[in-house]
């Protein structure tokens, strides 16, 4: 190699640094461990809940939020998915953090649930082809799987992983009760516990009457197959 002058040596160093930085960026991103997936929370229509906080902790320490619009509007039924289509790849979740209020028992639950990493990554590796096809803006459609967190009565929580034609139970867990403090009862403003349950939930008097009469009282939703499995699996 012929001798380079001072300027060209500086350029060479910059070029090498850029190449190294690019390599580091690619290795840190770990694209080969990333997948497209959706995630949302569901609850039985007879046991309405309001989710204050629900997020996945991902393998790289980042967090991802789960869809809660339907469940918070009391518009969900047992095992319904409410995920928005993923538009970027993410690392897989390793844990779930959930904090919610249960209307029927007037209790607040909060817990962190460890997810079975190995089962999840293996399912994504082997069964992604049975997933849902999601169209992308200005690029080819991708395959995606969906996580659904089912919040049953009595603080029971189940996590499903599903594609277009299969559903897997990842974990069942009983969440612990906690006493609400400060902003836990925030709905537009800070409310009392009773005020929170009256205002944050969109429940009419007829439904309330039914709840008082004990509608669905003996249901054990944690052991009930999801609506997806019963009606929608195709």
């Amino acid at each position: 190699m012929k001798k380079l002058n001072k300027l060209n040596r500086v350029y060479l160093v910059v070029l090498i640094l850029l190449t190294v930085a690019t390599a580091i960026k690619i290795v840190m991103y770990q694209g080969w461990k990333r997948y497209y997936y959706g995630a949302s929370v569901s609850a039985p229509s007879s046991y309405p809940i309001r989710v204050n906080r629900c997020e996945f902790i991902l393998a790289n320490g980042e967090t991802a939020y789960l869809g809660t619009t339907q469940v918070n509007d009391q518009n969900s039924d047992w095992g319904d998915g409410d995920y928005s289509d993923p538009h970027r790849k993410e690392r897989l979740p390793v844990a779930l953090v959930i904090d919610y209020a249960d209307y029927r028992s007037q209790q607040f639950y909060r817990d962190s649930i460890i997810l079975p990493e190995k089962v999840i990554s293996e399912t994504f590796k082997n069964e992604l082809n049975k997933g849902e096809e999601v169209s992308q803006y200005q690029s080819a459609p991708v395959m995606s799987l969906n996580f659904v967190v089912g919040v049953a009565n009595n603080g029971n929580i189940i996590v499903w992983l599903r594609g277009k034609s299969f559903e897997k139970v990842l974990v069942k867990h009983k969440a612990s009760i906690h006493e609400p403090k400060a902003d836990d009862t925030w709905y537009e403003r800070r409310l009392s516990r009773k005020g929170y349950f009256n205002q944050a939930f969109n429940i009419d008097s007829a439904q309330n009457e039914e709840f008082k009469k004990g509608f669905d009282k003996h249901a054990n939703y944690i052991d009930t197959p999801s609506r997806f499995k019963t009606f929608m699996m195709r």
Binding site: K2, L4, N5, K6, L7, N8, V10, Y11, L12, V14, L15, L18, T19, A21, T22, K25, I26, Y29, G31, R88, K89
Partner: protein, 106 residues
């Protein structure tokens, strides 16, 4: 006129190095593109990084301009001043956007 110019650049001891410099500048710019686009970036991040491209070209050309002072390198010098103006504009625009965004803090 043309042969005279060619002659001058041939006799210029710097001409070989200058060619290499141009190649290096192109290689660095291509590498910048790869660096930005090798992983997922949001639209905002991408826009921000691409506005930085003018200052980067200016700095690279600056080295070129102040190292090679012969008549054969007038083109590079003109380009340098053009990019100096462009990067001043893009830096001003970024600064303006950042200041403007303060209005939306609450």
């Amino acid at each position: 006129m043309l042969p005279e110019n060619t002659k001058e650049s041939l006799t210029d001891p710097n001409s070989d190095q200058a060619t290499k410099s141009v190649l290096f500048i192109f290689a660095i710019l291509v590498m910048c593109g790869i660096f930005v686009s090798c992983t997922y970036t949001t639209e905002d991040e991408e826009l921000f990084l691409w506005t930085l491209i003018c200052p980067v070209i200016t700095i690279l050309l600056g080295g070129y301009t102040f190292t090679y002072t012969g008549k054969a390198h007038v083109g590079g010098r003109i380009l340098f001043y053009v990019f100096l103006v462009l990067s001043a504009i893009s830096i001003f625009l970024i600064w303006y956007l950042i200041e403007l965004s303060h209005a939306y803090s609450h």
